[in-house]
Amino acid sequence: MPSIDPGLDTLPKLLVHNAAARGARPAMRHKDLGIWQTWTWAQMLEEVRAFSVGLAELGLKRGDKFTIVGSNRPRLYWAMCAGQALGAVPVPVYADAVAEEMAYVLAHAEVTLGVVEDQEQVDKLIAVSDRLPHLRQVVYDELRGLKDYDHSRLIAFQDVQSIGRKKLANDPECLRQWQASVAAGKGSDLSVILYTSGTTGRSKGVMLTYANTIISARNANAFDRLDENEEVIAYLPLAWVGDYIFSYVQSYAAGYCVNCPETAETVVQDRREIGTTYAFAPPRVYENLLTLTMVRMADASALKRKAFDFFIAFAGRWGEKILDGEKVPLGARLLYGIGNVLVYGPLKNQFGLTRIRIGYTAGEAIGPEIFRFYRSIGMNLKQLYGQTEASVYITAQPDGEIHPEAVGKASPDVEVKISDTGEVMFRSPGVFSGYYKDPDKTAEVLTPDGWVHTGDAGFFDPKTGQLRIIDRAKDVGRLKDGTVFAPKYIENKLKFYPNIREVVAIGAGRDFVCTMVNIDLTAVGSWAERNNVVYASYQELAGDPRVYEMIARHIDEVNRSLAEEEVMAGAQVRRFLILHKELDPDDGELTRTQKLRRGHINDRYAPLVEAFYNGSTEAQIATEVTFEDGHKGVIAARVVIRDMKPYPAPPAKMERAA
C-alpha cells in the first residue's frame, strides 16, 4: 500500500499547506452578480478558518456529522473543509432530493448541523425536522425569503464567520487551538460519508477516510499530469463522489482552481468564459450538448448544414488518428486544419472546450458514436470506470489507448479481477471502510481480504487488454430460449439517436425483447415544429403516430445492427411503445444520477409489460407522479404498442450455431 505524508494526510492540512506554498494562486472562483469573484488559497484558508471557528462556537465537535445541501457554491465547499478541520464528518445530500429522501439519509447519519444553500432547502429541513432529533442548527448561505423565519435555530453563513473572526481576533489562544485541531486529524480518520443513490433499495452511506480519497486523487493527478494550472468547473451534484473527488480532493491535492457557475442554467456560458482544461461528466452531459447542436444545425442555413455535415464526416475518418498522433496523409491533415477553423474550433468554443486537455466520461456507458464524435473534433475524451466505494478510480484509459467500448486499464495502485461468476472486483488504497451503520451490507460487498464486488458484469478484452463492462451483473439475463439478454447494451444503442432520451428494455425470462421509449422533448419538439405537428404536452407528442413512425425507424436500424452480432441476434426488439410520461427521479424511476431503476419501473408499468406479451396492441395505464414540491397527482393514458420485424441472423453464423 502506498504511504501518505503525515503532514499532508487530511484535507484541512492540505489547505494550510496550499495557502503557504501557493497562497497567491487562485483556489476558487464564483460568478456572482455577473462577475467572477476569485479567492486565492490564502484567502480561502482565512474564509474556511473563520467559518470553522464559528462552527466550533456553535458546538460542532469531533465525530459529529453535519450535512451540506445545495448547488456548487464556494461556501458549501468551504463548509466541508471547515467541519473536517474540527474532526466532524460532512454528509453531503443531493439538493434535488425530495424531503422524504432527505429525511431518511439525515436521520440515518444522525446529523447535528446543516449547511444549506437557501430557503428551499431550509424549508425541506423544517418539513422533516421532527424526524431529525439530533439536528440542532441550520446555517444558510442565501438570506432571501428567510428574513421572517424563526431564527432560534437558524443562522446565516456570514454570521457564523463573523462569530469566528471575532473569536480569532479577541482570543490569541483560539488560532493555536484551531491549528491543533487540524493537526490532530489523521489519514485513517473518517473524512466523509457519501450516500449512494442505489439502483435498488435504500441508499447506503459509503464511509471514506482521508487516505482513501487523497491517495486516489494523487494517483489520478499523476496519471493525467494535472497540476496547479488546471481550471475545472464544478457543476455536478455535491453529494456525488465524482464531484467530491474532482472539485474538492483533487483540487486540494494538485492546487488547481475550481470554478462555481452562476446558476445551473448558465454552466455552458460559464464554462466558455473560464475555458476549463479538465472536465468530468456523465455521458448524458455530452449527449445533451450534441443533441442541442444537432437540433440547432437542423435549423441552420443549407450552406452551413452542408459544410457541417462534410467536415464532421471528414473528422470521423481522420480526427481520431490525428488526435492519437498516428500517421496521416498531408492532404487530410490540411483539410482537417481548414475544418478546424470552420467547424471544429467554433464548435468546441460553443461547448466551452477550447482549452480542454483531458475530458472524462464515467457513470454509465457512453454511445460509441457520441464518444467518437467528440474525439474526432479534437477533444481528448477518455473513459474511466469507478465507484463511490473505490473513491472513484478503478480503471481509466491512458492517453492514446482509447477504445470506445472499453473503460481502460487498472488505475495506479488498483488491482482488478473478474470473479468466477463474471463480476468485476477490485482492491485499492481507495477502498471504503464500510457502509455507515450497516455491517451486513458491507459484508456482502467487501471481502475480508479487501476485495470489493462491483456488481458489474465485465471482462478483459484480449485484443486491447482493457476492461469492458457489459451491464449490471444482476441485470444480465436470458430470454426463454437461452439467448443472452443485456438490456443496457440494447438501450445504449437506441439512446444514441437524439430523438430518444431514455429506453427500458425488457426480456429476461420472456420469449422476446420489448422496449419502452422516452422521446427527447428538445429534439422531437424541434422536429414537430419543422413539420407542423401540433402538440400541447409531452404526452400528446409521445402518442403521435408520426413520432411512432420515427422511433420505429430507429429501432429497425438497431435491429439490423443487432442481427449482425452473433450473440445478440436473438435479442432484437420485437415490440415497443412510447411512454406517456418522462421517467423521473422524483417518481423513483431513475436514480439521482439518472440511472434506471428497473425493478421499480417494472412494477409501476406492469400493465404495459403484460400487454407486451399478451399480444395487445394498446394498453391503459395510470401512474402516480410526484411534483417538485412533493405533491402527488395521477397521469392516465392509453398507450399504443407497435410490432417490429426482426432481421434474420447472418446465414454463415446460423450454420455454425446449428
Binding site: 456572482d32 452578480l33 455577473g34 429541513l125 421572517d148 423565519y149 432560534s152 446558476t263 442554467e265 448558465t266
Partner: protein, 270 residues
C-alpha cells in the same frame, strides 16, 4: 426554526390616497367618484370584470390620465392629478398589461434603462465614460445585477428580450420597474397569459419584492386565486364605480361582488 405562518397584515400609514376621482372620455364614464387608499408596505389588489376601469385607475395613479375631478394624495402631498414624470421621480414604477420592453435590447440593457432617472452624470460625462461617470455606471450595474440575481434571470442576461418567451419578458419588465427602486409598484396584470408554473414563480417574486425591499405594491389581476393569496386588501370596481373595498375573505363573500362577476340571479326556481 419555523416558517412564518402568514404575512402580518400591513398596518402602515397611507402612502397614496385617491379621493372621489372621476374620469370620462367624451361620453364614456371610465371612473365615477372612486376613493381608496394604499398603505405603506401592503399588497393592494384592484379587481373587477372587463371594462370596469382598473387600468384607467392605474393610469390615473401614475399620471398617465388626468381625471376631471377628485384629488390624489401621494406621500402627504395633495394634487388634482399626477404627472407621469412627477410620479416616476416620486417613486412610482409600473409594468404594463401589454409588454412595453425594448425588444432589440438585451435583458441587461432593458433593466439598466430603468436606472435612467437615477443617473446623475450628464450626457458628455457618460460619453467619456471616465471618472464619476464610470463610477456611477459601475454602481448602477451592480444594482441591476442584484435585480438579475433576485429574479433569477442570469441565464438570459445577454439575450435580446424579443427572443425570450412571454413569461420571461414579463419578469424582465418587473426587473426594469424594480431598477427604479420604487416606493410604489403598479403591476398591470402581471400574470396574464402565463402558465401555472410561471404564475407561481411570479407570485413568489411579488411576495419577495414586498418583503425584501419593503415595496408597496398595487396590482390588477384577473386570476382570483392569485389575488386572494397575494393581497392584503382588495378594491373591486364595476362600471367605473367602487363596489367593495375589504380583505380578500370579505370580498369573496360580498354580494355585490358576486353579482358583478356572475350576473343577477334571474328567478331560478328551486
Amino acid at each position: 426554526m419555523r416558517a412564518p405562518s402568514s404575512r402580518e397584515a400591513a398596518a402602515g400609514e397611507v402612502l397614496l390616497a385617491v379621493d372621489d376621482v372621476s374620469l370620462s372620455f367624451g361620453g364614456v364614464r371610465a371612473l365615477t367618484g372612486v376613493s381608496f387608499d394604499i398603505r405603506k408596505g401592503e399588497i393592494r389588489a384592484i379587481i373587477g370584470p372587463n371594462g370596469a376601469g382598473k387600468t384607467s385607475m392605474l393610469n390615473v395613479v401614475n399620471g398617465f390620465y388626468q381625471p376631471q375631478s377628485g384629488r390624489i394624495t401621494f406621500k402627504g402631498q395633495v394634487r388634482r392629478s399626477m404627472r407621469p414624470h412627477a410620479a416616476a421621480e416620486g417613486g412610482i414604477a409600473r409594468t404594463f398589461q401589454n409588454l412595453a420592453l425594448f425588444r432589440g435590447m438585451t435583458t441587461l440593457d432593458n433593466i439598466l434603462a430603468g436606472r435612467a432617472l437615477k443617473m446623475r452624470c450628464g450626457f458628455f460625462w457618460q460619453l467619456l465614460r471616465y471618472g464619476p461617470a464610470l463610477r456611477e455606471e459601475v454602481e448602477h450595474r451592480r444594482r441591476v445585477e442584484e435585480i438579475i440575481d433576485f429574479l433569477e434571470i442570469a441565464a438570459i442576461r445577454k439575450v435580446p428580450v424579443g427572443r425570450l418567451p412571454y413569461g420571461l419578458q414579463k419578469r424582465v419588465e418587473l426587473g426594469r420597474a424594480l431598477a427604479m427602486e420604487p416606493d410604489l409598484l403598479l403591476l398591470d396584470e402581471p400574470m396574464a397569459g402565463m402558465n401555472l408554473e410561471e404564475k407561481e414563480d411570479m407570485s413568489r417574486f411579488i411576495i419577495d419584492v414586498n418583503q425584501q425591499y419593503g415595496t408597496t405594491i398595487a396590482l390588477i389581476e384577473h386570476d382570483m386565486g392569485v389575488v386572494m393569496d397575494l393581497s392584503d386588501r382588495v378594491v373591486v370596481l364595476d362600471y367605473g364605480c367602487k363596489i367593495a373595498d375589504a380583505t380578500p375573505d370579505e370580498v369573496k363573500r360580498d354580494k355585490n361582488v358576486i353579482r358583478a362577476y356572475l350576473g343577477e340571479p334571474h328567478g331560478v326556481s328551486v
